[in-house]
């Protein structure tokens, strides 16, 4: 075996992919897409305020409309105050981001409700005095009747939800007062208890809570995508060499094993380059300063960060995961003559790589359960399940060590078997081989 030959092949495989525009488009599209679906909507919402004018006709006789106006002004004020002082824990989940500023115009029911209703309809229809909607609060609202909401647009669920929430709050207070209970006292007594999740120091690697979880899942899917995508690249690469018959020229210069190893290492490096770019983007985006600027995270959440140990573990697990699957893909690519034939057998690998996705929730909820531990030790699952466990809670050292030993042994075995299949298959043209035939190739001297 010549290392320089392996290196020349590695270099070609790496450069031919990294120099390709498609690689950069795909690599940059993922973080851009992620940013687009996470940051943009929040940005858009916070920057684009609309104002809505709603006329509320109060027939309850309990001043509900005025109270509603006050309530809506209060929540709006609470929200802007919160935005000013960013990392203040928000009060009991109220004051969710609002899409609009509301202007409430109150009216008392007129002599002829029908005329009044018609007038309001006209105002909404003409947009005169900028009225977007009107509400009719009948006396029954205090019992169990619905409040009427008449608007140009009745699919604006967020506006309706806001109105429903604030109206319920106001009506609830009226009802309490009618029942002789002080609403303020009631609120005090029924206040929710918050759960402050703090990770015990030294037990895990991520910042904890929701952010830590998202971080772990993001890592998991990045690895999943990379292993699957670049593994299949190996297969298409081998098929291309076979299809264009470059293979005979190559085999007359270097051994099949050197060719296979060069290809695997080169493409592995491409995958790592891409992963590094992605992780780098994650690091930049989650840097404290940027998070504060973009303000797309809920207040009071500390961002998890990548430690060196974690990065190293990720890199090694990616390499092992890549080799566990890519060797298989190389052998399949070598055995068949075209993509259609190869794809059928290649789907065997997909079954194994998808399995951890199926039990993702269970593993996240209890990363040290028997199932999670067992899966993280099974070589074909280790590269995906172990990073997930590491991101949530650092597994015991012996489990980590055992996983590495098992996966490494498995990978060495795969290289041995697949190199043999590759060596024979790569020069076989014509008839599609059966799996038994392929297995027989491994026993050729």
């Amino acid at each position: 075996m010549r290392l320089d030959s392996i290196f020349v092949v590695l270099k070609r495989e790496y450069l031919s992919r990294v120099k390709n525009k498609g690689f950069w488009i795909a690599t940059l599209a993922v973080p851009l897409f992620a940013a687009a679906v996470t940051i943009l909507p929040t940005l858009l919402i916070s920057k684009s305020h609309t104002s809505q004018t709603i006329v509320v006709v109060d027939a309850t006789g309990q001043g509900v409309a005025e109270a509603l106006k006050a309530q809506m002004a209060k929540t709006a004020a609470a929200k802007s105050k919160e935005a000013a002082a960013a990392p203040v824990r928000r009060p009991s989940g109220k004051g969710e981001s609002r899409l609009a500023d509301f202007t409430i115009e109150t009216q008392t029911p007129g002599a002829d409700p029908r005329v009044q209703r018609r007038d309001l309809d006209t105002r909404v229809r003409n947009g005169k005095g900028k009225v977007d909607a009107w509400m009719w609060l009948g006396p029954g609202v205090l019992k169990d009747e619905a409040a009427e909401y008449h608007a140009r647009n009745t699919t604006n669920f967020i506006t309706q939800e806001t109105l429903r929430g604030d109206l319920s709050e106001v009506v609830r207070r009226v009802r309490l007062r009618q029942a002789g209970i002080d609403p303020a006292r009631m609120e005090e007594l029924t206040k929710r208890v918050e759960l402050d999740a703090v990770q015990v120091p030294g037990t895990g690697t991520s910042g904890g809570g929701v952010a830590g979880l998202i971080f772990a899942v993001v890592l998991f899917f990045l690895l999943y995508m990379s292993i699957l995508m670049w593994g299949q690249q190996v297969m298409t690469g081998v098929l291309e060499e076979k299809g264009t018959r470059v293979i005979e020229v190559l085999i007359s210069a270097i051994t099949p094993f050197e060719l296979m190893m060069g290809k695997l290492l080169g493409i592995c490096l491409v995958g790592m380059t891409q992963l590094a770019i992605w992780l780098g983007t994650v690091l930049v985006l989650t840097a404290p300063g940027i998070v504060a600027t973009l303000a797309f995270l809920p207040a009071g959440v500390t961002m998890p960060s990548l430690t060196i140990g974690m990065t190293l573990n990720l890199a090694f697990l990616f390499i092992l995961g890549f080799f566990a699957y890519a060797t298989f893909y190389a052998a399949i690519g070598a055995s068949f003559n075209n993509l259609q034939e190869a794809q059928q057998v290649a789907s065997i690998a997909v079954v194994f790589i998808v399995a951890p996705v199926m039990v993702l929730n269970q593993i996240i909820n209890d990363p040290s359960s028997t199932m999670a531990v067992a899966m993280s030790l099974f070589p074909l699952f280790t590269p995906l399940v172990m990073p997930l466990r590491i991101a949530i809670e650092m597994p015991p050292a012996w489990q980590l060590a055992l996983a590495y030993v098992l996966t490494l042994s498995f990978v060495i075995g795969m290289i041995w078997v697949c190199a043999r299949i590759y060596r024979v298959g790569i020069l076989m043209y014509g008839k599609k081989p059966t799996l038994q035939e392929i297995w027989k190739w491994t026993r050729y001297a």
């Binding site: 060499e241 018959r245 293979i247 210069a253």
Partner: protein, 300 residues
Amino acid sequence: MTPILEVRDVRKSYGDFVAVGGVSMSVPPGSIFGLLGPNGAGKTSTIRMIMNITAPDSGEVLVFGHPRTGDDLRRIGYLPEERGLYRKMTVMDQLLFLGEIRGLKRAQLVPEVERWLARVELAPWAKKKIEELSKGMQQKVQLIGTVLHKPDLLILDEPFSGLDPLNQELFRELLQDYRTQGKSVVLSTHGMELAERMCDHICLISSGRAVLDGELRDIKRRVGGNSFRLLAEGDLERLKTMPEVEQATIQNGEVKLMLRPDADGAEALRQMVGFLKVREFRSEEPELEQIFMKAVRDAA
């Protein structure tokens, strides 16, 4: 002198089909060795065994005087029958890659590649992708890739198919250069005229067996000692029925005659004068084509 390449009775069967049924040949240094035979004779199968792409069922192949090792690969240049290049790579990158996998350094390679591209008039195409080139151009790139590392032994499987006469001539010159440097070339072809012009040694394969093997001059003397050229008028077809005539190729009133080895030329001429108006009859070296046809017929 040890032969550069020696093939000893190699055999290869695929199921019941015998692709190569015992071929031996010996390629001396400084020679252009033609592996000749009709389509399906086993030329490519033999070459693939020489290159260790397939393993022979029996027999052995010696290169540079010993069984082939991994290190020998870098002293051999191989042009397979089914050509292939990476379609998306540029001509320059492709050639640098082919040089580098044979252990050459980039710095030495660049001027070498440029020199070759200029020589085959492909210099303006250096930065173009392979898929943008015509078939003939790809063929030239592939040939350069085969000789770039200055191998001591070149093995070319049908190197001239797909090349126009101008380029054929160019590569003929290249191969002659090669020989004068004391290196050896093995080429397979079914084009007899070409082989005749280029090769000094030949091995004729028919139905998986070597039917003739040796120096072309010797073979001609041995096989074709009784060849004549005849210019005559009359019933030329009747020549073919004469017992002395082994082979008669008639073209525009000119006949290439090959008599049986034991036949007497003068006696044959006397009989011909009986039914032909002979204008010229002289002894001549046989063409390879005639030898080939005779050998294939004899073997069958």
